[in-house]
């Protein structure tokens, strides 16, 4: 059992951590969510029927846990305190943390998007899912995913003007 957990963490730990980080924008909270996800899988392994791949299954749990955190009082309090006490040039702890490491221009820009736009960008470009797979994962119509992707790309286009954007390709080679 310990070996199995270690294998899962080696295979998917980093990936799930990055997904959680993109949602909650805080490394510490992302680590807590990852712990929660691994522990949930450890306890409820028999609930995994194998309909989807293990990676997709764990991704779904991670996304649900992220949403639980974002809906919680703790998250709203943090956002409120940040809004009240972070003025002008004052940097938040989170942005200072980012700037301690290498310059993360693209990540920082993506994190400025709303959650609903951020998640489709993450799942499409980082996790490399098709729009259909994202629609299944998030339990939304595919048309909604496509329109969110378009909107996210138009917002990012203004902010990342050194990258040229093309028309969205839906993964089957057809242009929308």
């Amino acid at each position: 059992m310990q070996r199995q957990i270690k294998e899962i963490i080696d295979l998917y730990g980093d990936y799930l951590l990055r997904i959680a980080y993109t949602y909650v924008k805080d490394n510490r909270i992302a680590e807590e969510i990852l712990q929660d996800v691994i522990f949930t899988y450890y306890r409820k392994q028999k609930d995994y029927r194998g309909d989807a791949s293990l990676k997709t299954y764990l991704t779904r749990i991670t996304i649900n846990r992220c949403y639980d955190y974002l809906r919680s009082w703790k998250s709203k309090r943090e956002t409120l305190l940040e809004t009240i006490f972070v003025h002008g040039n004052t940097k938040s702890i989170e942005s200072k943390y980012i700037e301690k490491e290498e310059k993360m221009e693209i990540t920082r820009t993506v994190l400025t998007l709303k959650v609903k736009l951020r998640e489709v960008i993450l799942l499409y470009y980082y996790a490399e899912h098709t729009t259909k797979e994202i629609a299944d994962l998030l339990e939304l119509p595919e048309s909604t995913i496509k329109s969110r992707l378009q909107k996210a790309r138009s917002v990012l286009k203004e902010k990342l003007d050194h990258i040229e954007w093309e028309v969205l390709n839906d993964g089957s080679g057809e242009t929308i």
């Binding site: 929660d36 993360m104 693209i106 980082y126």
Partner: protein
């Protein structure tokens, strides 16, 4: 995927992989925590809403009781109209107390009967363990009849021995209960309202937010436009009549208005926070009322 998108993807992946990762120490610590059950799953329970709501209801109730009648708490457990075995029958028939007691017992009986009917007939509750246990207890009609009769007699008997002031307050309580049970009866076969586009069932919070939205509504999940259906707009007006008429009749009977207002507010809150989840139906087009 075009070159520019590939470049974006590559750069972003590099950024994430260089900065967001688990080192060896963190991985070992995580494995150890999970295997040794040291990591306790945090239960997410938000007690703020029930706590604030309970304080509100009990605070208002206490305030109302303090403001009515002569003594400090506004009610008297002993009065010169308490039950006496020495009443003769003629005096009993013309006494105010007799009719109040009779009315209270009738309303109490109706409430008990309706309560069990609601428990038995509400479809969405049938999968609940507690309700299944009650239904198995009331499986046969003789057992059903006996249990309901026992409860009716116990409460009714209690009513016969208390003072008139408390009977009046109990009447208001039973009218309030009856209104809530009637509302539950009307929605016994309904499920939670859902989005006509994606089929998502709306939670209490979603419905509450949408009830107060001044203009067009959008689904919280798929963000498509939705509209309150014409039927639900018409029906919502009907639901107000029964509580309004029943509380108006109570007001004519001389019960202090504060208690009646309190009862009406409780029924209103029950409708707005629970019943409306089932009565509000949405459609994908703006249906005309007539």
């Amino acid at each position: 995927m075009m070159e520019a998108e590939k470049q974006f993807k590559k750069e972003w992946k590099n950024e994430l992989e260089s900065n967001i990762y688990l080192n060896t120490e963190m991985k070992s610590e995580l494995v150890e925590k999970v295997v040794s059950h040291k990591f306790k799953e945090k239960k997410q329970s938000n007690l703020v809403y029930p706590l604030v709501f309970s304080i509100f209801v009990f605070g208002i109730a206490f305030f109302l009781l303090v403001t009515i009648q002569d003594n400090t708490l506004g009610i008297s457990s002993s009065s010169n109209t308490s039950f006496s075995i020495e009443y003769n029958f003629k005096e009993l028939l013309v006494s105010e107390r007799f009719y109040w007691t009779l009315g209270a017992i009738l309303i109490e009986g109706t409430s008990v009967f309706l309560l069990f009917a609601v428990i038995k007939k509400t479809l969405r509750w049938q999968s609940n363990t507690f309700i299944s246990k009650i239904n198995s207890l009331l499986a046969t009609w003789p057992r059903n009849f006996v249990i309901q009769s026992i409860i009716f007699i116990l409460i009714g008997g209690g009513i016969a021995f208390i003072s008139l002031n408390i009977i009046k307050i109990l009447v208001v309580f039973f009218v309030m209960l009856l209104n809530c049970l009637l509302l539950l009866w009307f929605v016994r076969k309904l499920n939670r309202s859902a989005c006509p586009h994606c089929g998502k069932s709306f939670t209490r919070k979603d419905v509450f937010k949408m009830t107060w939205a001044p203009y067009r509504l959008t689904c919280i999940r798929c963000e498509e436009n939705i509209y309150l259906s014409a039927d639900s707009r018409k029906n919502s007006v009907l639901f107000i009549w029964v509580p309004l008429i029943s509380h108006y009749l109570l007001a004519l009977s001389g019960i202090p208005i504060q208690i009646i207002v309190f009862s009406f507010i409780v029924v209103g809150l029950f409708f707005n926070f629970y019943i409306v989840n089932f009565t509000n139906r949405f459609s994908n087009e703006d249906e005309p009322l007539w």
